[in-house]
Symmetry: C2
Subunit: 454 residues, 2 copies
């Protein structure tokens, strides 16, 4: 069964999901180009656009594709209804011919690319859109917004979960980013290996595991720390996590154990020298008989801080700011370029901008990951014109998401997030171990071109 | 006339604006704290929460408040309907008592703070929420998400327009950030002094001026640069802006002038050494008789690049990535803290966390900007407990947005954006000239406390 891209996707999500109109998440020049190309007739030339990154953020060894599912969902809401058309008409942004074309617009092309969760490298052909120029052109801004944001967060998340080496990471950055970015960031964090999120909307929309107990304000609200802990344990049970650093950490731990007893779930540390503190808090908990009480740390953690805490007796990490801001790389730097289009004879012509510092490689791309006999990745092989030759162990990277306007199933909704999470783990396991090094370096595998045809 | 916060605001916006439900843009711990405080009874204690920044981003001399209007609009959608309640119930995130409280929730408190567009400094009391603990607590995540994102973008925008020194700046960063962040970023950019945006949705939602003409793909689509320019001029008129760097800039300029004639609106340069290029392109345009044709530059500009272009004959700047990522400071770092609450006798008690690296100052705050006899700002004066004394020239900083659950008019919709833009210009004009220095430094005025009462 296939769904039209412009139909709501009702299959996967666990809760009702509506797709708000996304047509005006678009730079004005997409529509003025549409108008000019309708005028010249070139709008109808079959065209291939490609989303790729010329480079990874400085020093990063890999990128992570995320947002594909959100993009396919947003495409279902990409249509020009009265609200959108009236705005464009009232402002005279485009002419009547263009308005009429937009009113009838339904995407009829095909979209393929890397599976969500896949690692990527410079010039990996992450998303390929094949349609008329008109149809592919107007999707540029939406495609880049979603892929650039979500991939930036997933890459940061992946580095953090790598540094955490199996200890659960909890996403709690909603308050540090736009309220809708927060939901997308939680989704991307899960794909990057996070265990759970504090964002309720992300939990609802994508079926993610959510967590949270209490903040300092809860302790300050009560007449004493003990009164606050008693209230929390009475309402949330002994398995809850008590925040012990509002006044004095040692006294906080002692009070927490006194109130909740040996079944206390966890204590949370949110300030100070976390490495040293985690050690003596663990010792204190053990001395008090609370061997199963866990230690959760939060407080401006990033992948480096997590790495430094590896030797400390910490059970889980709560990460906020640096996750949702991409840990120094808040956008993935992908671009969306016309790489091939028909000429008047119907032949495809590879095209590329010539400018020195922004050169692109023209032509439709296909890609595979070259693996050695142990299944370890050796190179990203990009074929120009056709798929590169598989030497036997290789893994093809391109998936089909939309075929002739029909959305293929399995790439949207909550199921897609779970699938992307699994796929990311697989993709990482295949890369050389150096991929997990946090120090600045080069992409962990090189990108090689195989020119099959122009 | 007053509107309930929980009613849709229908007065200001130029186009129909709906307020999507925002209740789950909330960290889970807000609701578990609610449950525990309902259980202990402390939920009903009158409380004061304050949003403030402990420090500015490293080296910044001022911050810019933005997002207040969006926040007040989002509050209108902050209610727990069936969708939200079912999710919370199905997941057993809170108990039945808490669900019943949420179902009835309407904000009945008061909100005051700095006007949108105002400059702020460390510990400025940017937003004050006075209500019960329960009502004020559950708004934390939404308040911080919006203020932290929008203020970060407005601050970057303000530095850029300062560096541009009167030349128009155009926001074109939608593709580098989440699609909804992009709309908020365009709005914040306008408040920070930008002239226009490429984002159509921002134009529609907030009545902003939008611009855009063509990308490289449009040139590559056609059989020659000349054919592309002819198509664009035919469709968009001679006043359009032609992108001249797809192949060879000099030839591009000559072809553009040849096609559009002396009325050509502008040429756009998007790569290479922009300073040198702008100089010889200006000379070439003048030599060709195109004295009124303007030069627009784009290509990874930030405030420093804009400053370096001051001596070049550039007419306007298009800014993308670094604007929407806050130019190195993608989040404003504001926190939302309980600073005062009633005790059992009904007396207000100032409260603050004691942890060494995250100390807060307890007590309700009011603030004014101390001005000298020339109207130049000397200090941010924060009164603890009551308003600080006005020495005659001072400007009070606190505005009332919501009183006893009623939204006061003038702070939302398109009108609020225009008002904030004006207010930002006023606020900047009042600060010492050093505020416009881009080099790293200290806040341009100090924050001083006046303790009026505990």
């Amino acid at each position: 069964m296939v769904l039209r891209v412009t139909d709501a996707v009702t299959s996967d999500p666990p809760a009702p999901v509506t797709f708000p109109n996304s047509a005006l998440f678009t730079d004005q020049y997409e529509l003025t180009m549409l108008q000019a190309s309708l005028h010249s007739g070139a709008a109808h030339r079959r065209s291939v656009f490609e989303a790729f990154a010329r480079r990874l953020p400085a020093g990063r060894r890999y990128g992570v594709v995320a947002g594909t599912g959100r993009l396919l969902e947003a495409l279902a809401g990409f249509r020009f209804d009265d609200t959108q058309l009236s705005f464009l008409a009232d402002r005279r942004i485009v002419d009547d011919t263009t308005l009429a074309w937009l009113a009838d617009f339904r995407f009829t092309g095909s979209i393929s690319g890397y599976a969500e969760g896949e690692a990527y490298f410079p010039h990996s052909p992450i998303l390929t859109v094949e349609s008329t120029f008109a149809e592919a052109c107007i999707l540029e801004t939406l495609i880049l917004s979603i892929l650039n944001h979500d991939s930036a967060i997933a890459a940061a998340a992946s580095r953090m979960t790598g540094a955490a080496a199996g200890r659960p990471c909890i996403e709690m950055g909603s308050r540090r980013t736009h309220e809708e970015s927060a939901v997308a960031a939680a989704r991307a964090a899960i794909i990057g290996g996070f265990a759970s999120t504090s964002s309720l909307e992300a939990g609802r929309r994508y079926g993610l595991s959510t967590v949270g107990t209490a903040a300092h304000s809860f302790t300050l609200l009560h007449d004493s720390e003990r009164a606050a802990f008693e209230a929390q344990v009475a309402a949330l049970g002994r398995g809850t996590s008590l925040l012990v650093d509002t006044y004095d950490v040692e006294q906080g731990v002692r009070t927490a154990v006194d109130v909740a007893g040996p079944e206390l779930g966890a204590v949370r540390l949110d300030s100070g020298d976390l490495v040293a503190q985690a050690r003596w808090v663990r010792q204190l908990l053990d001395d008090l008989g609370n061997h199963t009480t866990k230690i959760v740390v939060t407080s401006d953690l990033d992948e480096f801080a997590i790495g430094l805490l590896a030797s400390a007796p910490v059970d889980s990490y709560g990460v906020g700011t640096s996750l949702v801001t991409g840990s120094g790389a808040p956008t993935a730097g992908m671009v969306y370029k016309l790489v091939s289009r028909q000429d008047d004879d119907g032949d495809f012509v590879a095209v590329a901008k010539a400018a020195t510092n922004k050169a692109s490689v023209g032509g439709i791309k296909r890609a595979l990951r070259r693996l050695d006999e142990h299944g370890t990745a050796q190179a990203e092989v990009v074929g120009i014109g056709l798929s590169p030759a598989d030497d036997g162990n290789d893994r093809p990277l391109m998936q089909q998401f939309v075929r002739d306007g029909s959305l293929l199933q399995g790439w949207t909704g909550a199921a897609a997030v779970a699938r992307a999470t699994e796929h990311h783990a697989l993709s990482m396991a295949e890369l050389p171990a150096a991929v997990r090094r946090l120090q600045r370096g080069e992409p962990v595998i090189p990108t090689e071109y195989e020119e099959v045809s122009a």
